[in-house]
Amino acid sequence: MEFELDKSQKEIQKAVRDFTRGQFDKDLILEAMGSQKFPSAIWKKAAKLGFSSIHTPEAFEGGGMGLLEYVLAAEQMCKKDSSAGMALMLTGFGSECIFRFAENRLAEKYLPPVATGKMRAAAALFEPGAGQDISDIRTTAMEEGESRVINGTKAYVPNGASAGFYVVLCRNGADAPETSQNDLVLMVVDADAEGISIEPVGPTLGAGLMDFAHVTFENVWVSQKNQVGRTGSGREHVLAFLNEARIQAAAMALGTGQGAFDRALDYVRQRRQFGKQLAAFQITRHKLADMTARLDAARWVVYRAAAAFDINACDARTAASAKLTATDAAMAITDEAVQLLGGYGYMAEYEVEHFYRDAKTLEIFLGTPGVLKDVIAGAVIGRLK
């Protein structure tokens, strides 16, 4: 075992850290907060440096690195600003399905614009009323000659109103039973295709620099060439993607926690009360110690999950467990940071309040604790006789 980052990983980490220091303008970010105003200018620069599509293969103009490097970048971004970090690192949300499972032809078409900061992506998976569950997909993709016709609605799609294309999980034909697990197919659909209507979710608790939307497909014709993988492989691909995406979200939570911790530590070292620094009070010290221990625990499960993913050794339990631990830690840490800053912790200007809202958002996004526990339990208990 070897728990040190290698040289290139340390370089990436430092490069992203330097980038955020230079490019994340606090005032601009705070001003845009809550209005879903995406930080396009920063994104273009980040894309130029290969940060937001860091794990997309170089052939498609990405960074060509692993998930672990994505994790390091996401951690640094969210540490500097959780909302900006989420918005930037989720610009390619769903592109993993394309570069891992689709033919190169599709990847060559759709991924370079994402990697170069021209277009955002969006995986459209879950459906209204089904929660965060893909066992009951009702969106259909019926074969019609060389095309498929898509009908259905996807809920809470990240970048739903701004993406250039969607990676849509569909049932292959309407005749198969709705809960059939072997009848799913993934289709890449251009956002400007006819028949797509978008209902923005509107303001959200966190993730204030990006948008979510419900996306409805009504007789949307798509070439069969836009199919990802083979017919029937949709479930398998999406489960693999969910593992990857949950580790990504876990990394964002880790960075969010670290960022809140850093701000709290700074604050309690400066601020004096009752004649001494807050950091001199034992109870403040114990809070910081608790936060530290939780960060340590979160960091190593997240890094480990990413490293396992990169060697094809990551199962659903590993990814879900990493997200559960990291988001729980992020919630506890951001909450404590708000508390340590007192009245300032509640004020937008001091930032930790939006770290708290982002941590809560990450705790729900891509699997609430309840959903993750269902996943983990399924893996450890296995099939019951």
Binding site: G129, T368, G370, K373
Partner: protein, 381 residues
């Protein structure tokens, strides 16, 4: 067995107020949240309807109600799921200073307006460099030419923009004993040298105006001092029990409301197979556990309200209630959102505003850490 002895008159008051809020207040709340302030007409409407300052004696325009009326008013307002019309702060925290410590002239001058909603009040204790550490405040009040001259800055002042009357705590720089130096002073809107600073952007409490206040050579008449010179600290100490109790009441009502909304959502939302979410065992356990904690808080709080109403000194228990119940509201808000799935991070979700609003409760009215320090001290630790 109920701990509090609500009478039929109390129940009717509650029903009247709930109906009033439903009709006159709730329809406007989304707008006020967007505006980041609540209009003054809302205060007047509430006051004229008899729901402000229920404790004020009839000779000053109030109904002279017992503490249970205050409890009811605070609970019903909390159930509107917004914080802009901060009537409990006005009625049960700020105005009681005037009632308890004001002289007859001050009471005659101000109380009727407080009751009618024409005078909105605020109390200004916290300073940028002294949060829960009251003795560390640096605002000054000096007697000059028969007037009192105030200098200093206050922050996080609720009703800071709307306030027509501010009770400010400031110290006589000539008095070296911090506890004996403090006076409470009434500053009216429009007094030269009194300026509002920024309207502060915050996580929640969007319909409430929280502001900085600045006092620069701000001169007020000597008769605007509340109580004896130098008695500010002891006046604050005397009233803090009720302030913290009222905070606990608001937090308890918020926790109950958030849980109630969530429980209804889970009961009435089917999954794709038509099975209500509340039929899932893990959801049931979450709801039962939260309901239990809410009932624990309620029993403890009601016992405390009864004690407070009977004039008991319940410093330890009040500190405990303030920290535990405000933490409870926060924890409930976090756990409930998970039960909504992705809907739980949309502002359209009916408990998300509450999640943002309750997060300040463990901070204001004395942080929960201060509460624990106080409890430890009074427990002889």
């Amino acid at each position: 067995m109920e701990i509090l002895a609500y009478t039929k008159a109390h129940d009717q008051f509650r029903q009247r107020m709930r109906a009033f809020l439903e009709e006159e207040i709730i329809p406007h709340i989304n707008q006020w949240e967007a505006d980041h302030i609540t209009p003054k007409w809302a205060w007047q409407k509430l006051g004229r309807a008899g729901f402000l300052c229920t404790a004020v004696k009839p000779e000053y325009g109030g109904m002279g109600g017992d503490f249970l009326y205050s409890v009811i008013a605070a609970e019903e307002m909390a159930r509107t799921n917004h914080t802009g019309l901060a009537s409990a702060l006005h009625s049960d925290v700020v105005v009681p200073y005037i009632e308890a410590f004001g002289n007859e002239a001050q009471k005659k001058k101000y109380l009727p307006g407080c009751v009618s909603g024409d005078i909105i009040t605020a109390v200004a204790m916290t300073e940028p460099d002294a949060g829960s550490d009251l003795a560390g405040m640096t605002s000054t009040a000096e007697e000059k030419d028969g007037l009192i001259e105030i200098n200093g800055a206050k922050t996080f002042i609720s009703n800071g923009i709307n306030a027509d009357l501010v009770i400010i705590a400031a110290k006589d720089p000539a008095e070296p004993n911090a506890h004996k130096a403090m006076s409470l002073l009434i500053v009216e809107d429009g007094t030269p040298g009194f300026k509002r600073g920024r309207h502060l952007e915050k996580m929640g409490f969007h319909s409430q105006d929280t502001a900085e206040l600045f006092f620069t050579n701000c001169r007020i008449p000597a008769e605007n001092r509340l109580g004896e010179k130098g008695s500010g600290f002891s006046m604050l100490m005397e009233k803090l029990q009720q302030e913290r109790l009222v905070t606990s009441i608001g937090a308890q009502a918020a926790a109950e409301l958030i849980l109630e909304i969530t429980m209804e959502f889970c009961k009435n939302t089917p999954d794709k197979d038509g099975k209500p979410l509340s039929k899932y065992q893990a959801t049931q356990f979450a709801l039962v556990e939260m309901a239990t904690e809410v009932k624990l808080g309620r029993a403890f709080l009601d016992k405390l309200i009864a004690g407070h109403a009977a004039g008991e000194q319940v410093v330890v228990e009040t500190s405990m209630a303030k920290y535990w119940i405000t933490d409870l509201a926060k924890k409930i808000s976090r756990r409930c959102t998970d039960l909504f799935g992705d809907y739980g991070f949309s502002e359209a979700c009916p408990i998300v505003r509450g999640l943002r609003d309750v997060r300040v409760m463990p901070i204001f009215a004395g942080t929960n850490e201060i509460m624990k320090n106080i409890a430890a001290k009074f427990m002889g630790l």
